[in-house]
């Protein structure tokens, strides 16, 4: 229910955006109202978030635990909570426990209160030395003090019916080992949903050597990956502060840094339910050029799923009226069939949402229907195939060239282009090349071939064809190597006309290799990779590659291939890769929950450029 509401809100938002800001026939936008629209959309989304949290009650079984004490400590290393001094535990099932100290291992789903313990539930009171609650089994193990100490077990929270002498787990009253490390944070109270999250309140967090007081700190440890889906673009550094949340929602502030925006703040709201999730973000929130992103993924059953991504760009001072704004949205509907699935993808862009004459008027749209088969073995051969087919529609009344249409060709401006596509993939599993030898001397062979062709109502077609073959050997459990050769052809082929000879001249230098380009680019890569992992906490990789591309990767002609946050060139198929490169990657653990990855490439025979621009350094939890 909650995600249906969110879906409706997002859909309404998108429709409002499209309807309210659709350019009038005169080319000028109708009265734009972005600020009220954004405010209303945010209000509705917050209501949806609140509703998401409220509707969650129906599926909860484990009680919500409210803990207060003089001092509560949390250890990230061991995922344990310890509390001491005037401990009070109030569970949502009516159980109230007072004691001197509290200990909980969040991963084990159990907690203990010890020292002058008093239990109260259903009007009954029980005094004891300690109580250990096994939430998974709804059992309370108690050391009661009546006449003499004993060991009693209460089942289903019923304090009127003690099971005396019932065997208990051996470590039932052991404190979680907190060690002598400094806690990650301290707090005065906490709300704990076992197996899902803990939210600390009145928090003190050591930060750069000083205590940083915070009103709250939320920590998710659930088995739900959808709750941590994100919609933020990459940044060089990101410090996340989850300031609120429950088992279905997280509200987070991000302190970020990147080379363009420098330091800035971002906001992200996560929502997750049984049938889907939603993520809304504002990034950067403290810079004029803002991106408002929204992801919605809704899967009402095992056969149908809907996924949308919408990005609204605004150039505005805080939340004042934007100077310029643009939006693009993509929605994919997937329906599963017994041996295949079909997808309907819609894509819509508005480059000018406010009356800013400097912005492009383009608003291309795209609709594509595709059917894809599952991988299927070809007879009894060691060969698998899968196929896809699709039909698509593209429309843009303004056009990429600014004077109408999607494409100008043959003296005609196309505002609508239809396409249909067909593609297939063939691949082999790992085939042994050697037999009757130890595993460390075994060679394996893999090959794959992918071809996709797309015909358009403009008389041309595009081809993407990738062939790959590799030989690999695992020398030992910690050392392996592979040799891979890949050829990718990307072509845009016109029956008549098409790409004409062209020789770029930059700073008086001409680059004749481009003159023979007729719309087909070829990327050939021979790669030798060697991987070592002598220890799970220490890995290294060396990758040596030879590139033979057409058009030739002239030095100075192409801008340097961009790297993504993982240190990879993206998208693949960029022209201008150096002819020879070697990359070393080292990844090792520097702390119990912190890995460091260092990577850098060296280029051979690529003018004066010998090294990749910077070291790629990344810390990961």
């Amino acid at each position: 229910m909650n995600l249906r509401l969110i879906a409706a809100v997002l859909l309404a938002a998108v429709l409002s955006a499209l309807g309210g800001w659709k350019p009038s026939p005169g080319g000028e936008p109708r009265a734009p109202m972005p600020r009220p629209f954004i405010a209303i959309a945010l209000l509705l989304l917050l209501l949806a978030a609140a509703r998401a949290g409220a509707s969650a009650k129906s599926v909860q079984v484990d009680p919500l635990i409210r803990l207060s004490a003089d001092r509560i400590s949390f250890s990230f290393d061991r995922y344990t909570i310890d509390a001491s001094g005037h401990v009070v535990v109030r569970a949502s099932n009516g159980l109230v426990i007072h004691g001197q100290t509290f200990s909980m291992d969040l991963k084990l789903d159990r907690y203990m209160v010890a020292g002058h313990v008093t239990l109260q539930a259903g009007g009954h009171t029980q005094h004891g030395a300690a109580v250990s609650a096994y939430l998974q089994y709804d059992r309370l193990y108690v050391v009661p003090i009546t006449g003499e100490p004993d060991r009693w077990t209460f089942i289903d929270n019923d304090l009127t019916k003690p099971y005396k002498g019932l065997i208990m787990p051996g470590d039932v009253f052991y404190f979680a080992d907190f060690g002598r490390k400094r806690p990650f944070l301290t707090a005065r109270s906490a709300v704990i949903r076992p197996l899902h999250y803990v939210r600390f309140e009145h928090v003190t967090l050591p930060f750069l050597g000083a205590p940083l007081p915070l009103p709250s700190y939320y920590l998710d440890f659930s088995a739900d990956p959808n709750l941590v889906q994100n919609s933020l673009a990459g940044a060089t550094y990101d410090l996340t502060y989850n300031f609120a949340g429950n088992e279905h929602a997280i509200s987070a502030l991000h302190l970020r840094y990147d080379s363009i925006n420098k330091g800035y703040l971002s906001f992200e709201q996560h929502l997750s339910g049984r049938n889907g999730y939603a993520v809304i973000s504002l990034n950067p929130a403290t810079r004029p050029q803002k991106y408002w992103n929204g992801i919605l993924d809704y899967q009402p059953n095992q056969r149908l799923s809907i996924r949308t991504f919408t990005q609204l760009y605004t150039d505005q001072t805080w939340l004042s009226s934007p100077r310029s704004a643009a939006q693009w949205s993509v929605a994919t509907l997937t329906y599963a069939l017994p041996k295949s699935f079909v997808q309907l993808t819609g894509f819509q862009t508005n480059y000018r949402l406010v009356n800013n004459p400097t912005e492009s008027k383009n608003h291309p749209s795209y609709l594509q229907f595709t059917a894809t088969t599952f991988p299927h073995q070809v007879g009894k051969l060691p060969l698998f195939e899968s196929m896809n087919w699709g039909i698509g529609f593209n429309h843009d009344s303004y056009g990429a060239y600014g004077n109408g249409g999607l494409q100008k060709f043959g003296g005609y401006e196309y505002t609508t282009i239809w396409n249909h596509t067909f593609g297939f993939t063939l691949y082999t599993p790992s085939l042994r090349l050697t037999h009757h030898v130890p595993a460390s001397k075994m060679y394996y062979f893999n090959a794959s071939f992918t071809h996709s062709r797309q015909y358009f109502s403009v008389p041309h077609f595009t081809d993407v064809q990738t062939t790959s073959a590799s030989i690999s050997r695992q020398f030992s459990t910690s050392l392996g190597a592979y040799l891979n050769y890949q050829v990718q052809n990307v072509g845009d082929i016109y029956k008549v006309g098409g790409y004409t000879p062209y020789t770029p001249v930059i700073n008086g230098v001409s680059y004749p290799s481009f003159s023979s380009f007729r719309g087909i680019a070829t990327f050939r890569t021979l790669a030798l990779g060697i991987n070592g992992s002598p220890d799970p906490a220490f890995n290294w990789t060396i990758l040596a590659r030879v590139h033979r591309d057409f058009p030739k990767p002239e030095i100075g002609l192409f801008t340097f291939t961009p790297y993504n946050v993982l240190g990879n060139v993206t998208p693949p198929g960029q022209l201008g890769e150096p002819p020879y490169d070697i990359t070393a990657d080292l990844r090792f653990r520097v702390a119990r929950h912190l890995n460091l990855e260092i990577q850098r490439s060296y280029f051979f025979h690529y003018g004066t450029i010998n090294w990749s621009p910077t070291f790629f350094v990344q810390f990961t939890p």
């Binding site: 001197q100 030395a129 056969r303 494409q407 992918t450 030989i471 392996g480 990855e597």
Partner: protein, 271 residues
């Protein structure tokens, strides 16, 4: 003298009864109240009338009373009561085998067992596997076959609930065109939930039928080593025709710059 003798005899008897039995043990305090000291083993011991409380390091009397989490060295008298307690903030070495002091434990109800309770529906179903010992370190090797359209420069990771679904939690190594592998040491008893990614949750694996897939589950048993083989059929960012629908995708019919990294200002070739 006749009057003094009985007094001396009585004093000697009192001294003898208060004399330590020689038995002592160490443990962590759970509670200290109503004439008992409780340890984290769940055992309770009755206190003598005048129990002495000392600091374990200085062996001098302290005004502190034992509190939960304190570590204690406990001395018993001949009646099995606790005559002295030494307190420490750090663990103390185990000194007396627990069976020797069992006789001093306050009487408990006769132990009996019930059938294994049914976990509540919200619990992880196989958390406590009955057939192995938890905590043993096991080398687990994950090998995954990726879709043939996975870029050659792609990195593949495992994301797990143990890392709060960090999409780059465990880096895998490419072993050939279609396979990646990694070995991790995990404790037996670990209930491991995981998915494969290409570095972000936007590139997480999808089910064969294109739907979002639930996390894979793996319960680590106490075998010496374990091999896990998985297949990823597709990634969340796959496009069925190999061309991603986004600005600057190459080449598209409406893209004026099919090769996006040409220098600014250079007239790009297009028909």
């Amino acid at each position: 003298m006749k009057r003094i003798f009985p007094l001396l005899a009585l004093s000697a008897l009192l001294l003898a009864t208060a004399a330590p039995s020689g038995l002592q043990m160490t443990g962590q305090v759970l509670d200290f109240e109503r004439g008992y000291i409780f340890l984290t083993t769940g055992d309770a011991f009755k206190l003598a009338d005048r129990v002495r409380i000392l600091d374990a390091k200085s062996l001098k009397p302290t005004a502190r009373t034992p509190e939960p989490r304190d570590f204690a060295r406990i001395f018993f008298d001949d009646f099995g009561k606790v005559s002295a307690i030494e307190l420490s903030g750090a663990p103390l070495p185990i000194e007396t085998p627990p069976p020797l002091v069992e006789k001093f434990v306050v009487a408990l109800s006769t132990p009996y067992s019930l059938p294994t309770p049914t976990p509540n529906p919200n619990a992880r179903p196989d958390r406590f596997h009955p057939h192995f010992t938890p905590g043993k370190i096991v080398a687990v090797t994950f090998t995954v076959q990726v879709p043939p359209n996975t870029p050659m420069n792609a990195q593949v990771f495992i994301t797990t609930d143990a890392s709060n679904w960090n999409p780059q939690a465990i880096l895998m190594h490419r072993i050939d065109a279609l396979h990646f592998r990694v070995t991790r040491k995990l404790a037996s008893g670990t209930d491991f939930r995981y998915l494969y990614t290409r570095g972000s949750l936007q590139t997480v694996e999808r089910a064969e039928n294109g739907m979002a897939r639930k996390p894979r589950t793996l319960l680590i048993s106490d075998a010496d080593a374990r091999a896990v083989g998985d297949i990823v059929y597709r990634w969340a960012d796959d496009s069925s025709n190999g061309i991603t629908a986004q600005p600057n995708a190459i080449p598209t019919q409406f893209n004026p710059a099919p090769f996006p990294n040409l220098p600014p200002g250079v007239p790009t070739p297009h028909p």
